[in-house]
């Protein structure tokens, strides 16, 4: 039993069990939709977690990449007559390119300076999305056509549940494998001490850039799914608050914990839905819960609980 619990892919196994069993208790299409949203944000959070939890680099602009993915699947079919799957892949490729070009200079910055640089990057994209109304529809946003592959179009919350869940699982397994690879060890070394990592022969700049690009692709794919799910997209998808939300998901769930990203995303996607019953007190409750989780479970929800279980 111990051996199974400590296995590298145990979190993936546990999460697949949840994904398969969840439909037994989901009462309506609305709940499938919320669950799909959770998987979408969890995917973006897993990517950001690779950057923050393992390489130790903060990004306050990752929603910018979500925006690229989202607008790629909105603009591609509408203005360029691209099939939606090609726009989807193209968006991910574009995000990787942008991350590569932007990451090279700004990843030299450290700590809060990197935070403000990434924040600026995300803001620039959000401003561009809301001002280039010819392509993006401006602040009101634009409609997104249905996702279709080989003439089959995807419709219905249940279909999206399985697509987003499968994508999330693939992303999670890739991340878990990456963490245990030599690359993952190099990343953790950078997190613990850049100087020590450099002394041991880790090419720090290359590693940081690589994980930045990977995390951008995760965010872009999540952004595309988000656009398909909503059927409509506004510049808010790449806004500052969205970036902050992604960071909060990673930290609440637990820095460096892939399963934690799912829990963090679930918390921040579902809380506002549940708290609407509190009407005006919704934001107060949300703020209080975020503060309480961070004060009482400082390592994040999943790592703290895992430690408690390990001791029991």
């Amino acid at each position: 039993m111990r051996g199974l619990l400590n296995h590298r892919l145990f979190p993936a196994l546990a999460m697949s069990a949840v994904i398969v069993l969840l439909p037994l208790v989901l009462p309506s299409a609305y709940y499938y939709r919320v669950a799909a949203l959770v998987f979408v944000f969890a995917l973006a959070a897993v990517g950001l977690n690779l950057l923050m939890g393992f390489a130790g680099q903060v990004s306050l602009g990752h929603a910018g990449f979500m925006g690229i993915g989202a607008y790629a699947v909105a603009i591609g079919p509408t203005h360029l007559n691209l099939p939606s799957w090609l726009a989807f892949v193209g968006g991910a490729g574009l995000s990787a390119l942008v991350a590569f070009a932007v990451g090279r200079p700004i990843l030299r910055l450290k700590g809060h300076y990197l935070a403000v640089a990434t924040l600026g990057f995300g803001l620039l994209l959000a401003i561009a999305f809301s001002n280039e109304a010819r392509f993006t529809g401006g602040p009101d946003g634009m409609a997104v056509s249905r996702f279709a592959v080989f003439g089959l179009s995807v419709r219905g919350a249940q279909a999206w549940y399985w697509i987003t869940a499968a994508s999330f699982l693939i992303g999670a397994v890739l991340a878990l494998n990456l963490i245990e690879s030599p690359t993952g060890r190099a990343l953790r070394a950078i997190h613990d001490s850049e100087v020590a990592a450099r002394v041991l022969g880790v090419d720090i700049a290359r590693m940081k850039l690589a994980v930045f690009v990977v995390s951008a692709v995760y965010a872009s794919v999540a952004g595309s799914y988000f656009a398909f799910l909503n059927g409509h997209i506004t510049p808010d998808v790449s806004g500052f608050l969205r970036s902050i939300e992604l960071v909060a998901m990673v930290v609440l769930g637990g820095l460096g914990s892939v399963a934690g990203s799912l829990v963090g995303a679930a918390l921040l996607v579902m809380l506002p839905q549940t708290l609407t019953s509190l009407h005006d007190y919704e934001h107060m409750a949300l703020g209080l819960i975020i503060m309480a989780v961070m004060i009482f479970l400082r390592a994040g929800i999943v790592p703290t609980l895992a430690r408690a279980l390990g001791r029991a």
Binding site: K110, H112, L255, G287, I290, M294
Partner: protein, 290 residues
């Protein structure tokens, strides 16, 4: 020329507010290494409390004083009930706590006040002053004068009083400060109180020009943070210069380039400055311990 003067003045006015917010970031960062994203909510609380007490019939000067006191109380509560219990957590965890606090305060303001925009009457006569063709609102001068007074008072407090020196010592080295008998917890709490007071005053000064509502804090926190980083985090001079530069950049970008892209231009310049000077304009290079 007239245009240039006009843009410079509006830039300096907004920049003075950014500078005060950035100064709040700097004070708290220096005392306990926390980037306090609820700093913008202090500005909102100052403006909104004054407006609503005014509506309730309280004379404005008294309302303003009470707003500052209330905001200071909120700042102290933030330190006591949210930051203090999480001592020793990582930087990102503390940032998320302050973000939680800012969501909470925004939510509270939405319940206690309302969701509409509000303004205050200008503190002195309303007619614009004409200088070389540029129209300058008297309230702009009030904002600038207010900012200068706050800076002088803060400088005098930190450099000339024993309590101020205790704060500097705590910022420099908390353990050493505790060893020489300084109550470092109180010193950190004091930095929250002062940051809150500065934010509240900034909020009251700018409301007659820029309006206020329950959610103005987010943008101000973002701009203040950017200004503090532009100046170099931890440097008070840097925070003030960073704020003024950011305000001027926005005003010139809005005037000469496009008002829609004013934030874009400002952040582009910040990115370029940081790439050339990775520690901001006035930041010191850290000594890296291995």
């Amino acid at each position: 020329m007239t245009e240039l003067l006009q843009f410079t003045f509006s830039g300096l006015t907004v920049g003075a507010v950014y500078a005060l917010v950035a100064l709040g970031f700097t004070l708290i960062y220096n005392s306990c290494d926390v980037i306090n994203f609820a700093q913008g909510e202090f500005v909102m609380l100052g403006g909104m409390t004054t407006v609503f007490l005014g509506l309730a019939g309280v004379p404005l000067p008294l309302a303003a004083c009470f707003a500052v006191v209330l905001t200071v109380a909120v700042g102290l509560a933030l330190h006591r009930f949210a930051i203090e219990p999480a001592r020793g957590s990582g930087a990102v965890v503390l940032i998320i706590i302050t973000i939680g606090a800012s969501i909470f305060l925004r939510g509270a303001a939405q319940v206690i006040f309302d969701k509409r925009f509000h303004t205050l009457p200008p503190f002195v006569g309303g007619d614009a002053i004409r200088i070389a063709g540029a129209a300058i609102l008297p309230q702009s001068l009030v904002v600038l004068a207010g900012a200068v007074i706050i800076l002088v008072l803060l400088w005098a407090f930190i450099e000339r009083t024993l309590i101020g020196k205790a704060m500097v010592a705590t910022a420099a080295n908390e353990i050493a400060a505790r060893l020489v008998g300084i109550d470092t917890r109180a010193a950190v709490g004091l930095s929250f109180a002062i940051a809150a007071a500065i934010g509240a005053v900034a909020g009251i000064l700018i409301t007659p020009i820029a309006l206020t509502s329950y959610d103005v804090g987010t943008v101000l926190a973002l701009k203040g943070f950017a200004a503090a980083m532009l100046g170099g985090i931890g440097s008070a001079v840097g925070a003030v210069i960073g704020g003024l530069v950011l305000g001027l950049l926005e005003a010139f970008a809005a005037g000469y380039v496009s008002s829609q892209y004013k934030d874009a231009v400002a952040f582009l310049v910040i990115l370029i400055v940081l790439l050339a000077m990775p520690r901001g304009l006035f930041g010191r290079a850290p000594v890296e311990r291995v």
